[in-house]
């Protein structure tokens, strides 16, 4: 009788035990909702840094997809660790990765190289896929660069939206081209002008005073007044005209 009473004292552990243990042992990630340039997003993290950024506001859906993608669960936490919180706020405000820690583990060396290079593109500028491929010393891997960017787990802070098609058009984005356009415009980019150049087949612009050619969105190119701007369809056209590549945006790094 008393044994039965004692057995009835057995109870379920609170639902918070497993998540807290898995967070503490680094077998799960934590996440918080956070505001981003396009509205709500979820930011997940672990001991190595920010592991994912998702432009979404459906928590259940996000948790499911996270577990499928990363093979570990993700749980809502009260707040980001202070260091990541400061790093993220600064990254969003300056639109540069800065010192924000990213969890690079689980990414191939190639994807890491692509994303780290992408993080160097300044706000207000864009580069074609082929530029990334050349810069990381793998000029033929243009398609693989596209794949690596499509799988960027930390969009916005690693600005894959600043990588565009080789013909200068915006190209694909995980969240759709409209979102890509919106994020670029939010950082002060004149997307219409950019698309206008692409429509006319213009990939490079130069200055007839310096005889230097640039990617059209390079900050040096944007300093050139319209009167002194020369347009080129490709690198050899620019070279034939006696122009040399800009050392900042390196439009010809092959």
């Amino acid at each position: 009788m008393i044994e039965e009473n004692l057995a009835e004292l057995a109870t379920e552990a609170p639902g918070t035990v497993l998540p807290q243990v898995l967070l503490e042992t680094d077998l799960a990630d934590g996440y918080v909702p956070h505001s981003g340039p396009t509205g709500a997003m979820f930011v997940s993290f672990n001991k190595r840094g920010v592991s994912s950024i998702t432009l979404d506001d459906d928590a259940a859906d996000f948790e499911d997809r996270f577990e499928i993608q990363f093979g570990r669960p993700v749980f809502p936490v009260a707040e980001l660790p202070p260091k990541l919180s400061r790093g993220l706020d600064k990254a969003l405000a300056t639109k540069r990765l800065g010192t924000l820690q990213i969890d690079w583990e689980g990414m191939s060396e190639f994807q890491q190289a692509v994303l780290r290079k992408t993080a160097e593109i300044l706000p207000g500028e864009v580069r074609p896929y082929s530029w990334i491929a050349k810069e990381i010393g793998n000029p033929k891997a243009v398609r693989a660069v596209g794949t690596a960017l499509a799988r960027n787990p930390v969009p916005i802070v690693v600005p894959c939206h600043r990588v565009v098609r080789n013909d200068g058009h915006l190209g694909n984005y995980y969240y759709g081209t409209d979102v890509k356009r919106a994020v670029l415009e939010a950082e002060g980019m004149d997307v219409d002008t950019l698309e206008g150049l692409a429509d006319r087949g213009i990939k490079l612009t130069g200055s007839d005073t310096t005889h230097i050619f640039c990617n059209p969105t390079c900050r040096d190119a944007r300093r050139t007044t319209k009167r002194h701007t020369v347009e080129f369809r490709n690198e050899s056209e620019a070279r034939r005209a006696g122009y040399r590549p800009c050392q900042h945006c390196r439009p010809a790094v092959a």
Binding site: L9, E12, A13, Q20, V21, E24, T25, V77
Partner: protein, 181 residues
């Protein structure tokens, strides 16, 4: 747990700690929590100690050879950690800080306030009854009858011989019967 499952769980943990550990927590958390709940005054303490037991277990297992893990009496071993934490909790009653704090609002327990009150009354009554026992007897009774450990597992958990453990359980139950009659 049957012998077969014990071997299976142990070898799973020995082969793939990170993969097997969440399942270990899922399986064992209710037993650990139920028992710890009878040994510390508040459910918050019990939750904290349950978490800390598994966190320490994970860190310890990470440093064990797979042979050592295969030979572990896991329930008994986990309870050595839990019992230690219960003893320490009696001295220092402060929550261990976590690296990250869960958003607790997102984890609704699903129990209404009324159920909580009824449970709280029952809890208090049994806590008082069990507190009346000498600590070795209380531990043995809780581990045997609330948690459902075997005498061998309790012996591992408490570091006392099986015969002594059996006697502790028997004496404890007899004493509870006397108080209740």
């Amino acid at each position: 747990m049957t012998l077969d499952t014990v071997e299976l769980v142990n070898s799973h943990i020995a082969n793939d700690l990170d993969g097997a550990f969440p399942d270990l927590v899922r399986d064992m958390q209710h037993g650990i929590y139920s028992g710890v709940r009878r040994m510390v005054p508040s459910s918050a303490d019990a939750e904290d100690i349950t978490q800390e037991t598994f966190i320490r277990a994970y860190r310890a297992l990470g440093g064990y050879s797979s042979d050592r893990i295969r030979e572990l009496n896991l329930p008994g071993w986990l309870w050595t950690i839990a019992l230690n934490l219960c003893r320490n909790a009696a001295r220092t009653r402060s929550r261990r800080p976590r690296t990250v704090e869960l958003d607790r609002d997102a984890f609704f327990t699903g129990r209404g306030p009324e159920a909580e009150v009824v449970e709280a009354d029952e809890n208090r009554r049994w806590s008082e009854l069990l507190e009346g026992l000498p600590s070795a007897q209380r531990t043995a009774v809780v581990l045997r009858h609330v948690v459902g450990l075997t005498y061998q597992e309790i012996s591992v958990a408490t570091g006392r011989p099986q015969g002594t453990v059996k006697a502790d359980v028997h004496r404890g139950i007899t004493k509870l019967q006397e108080v209740l009659s």
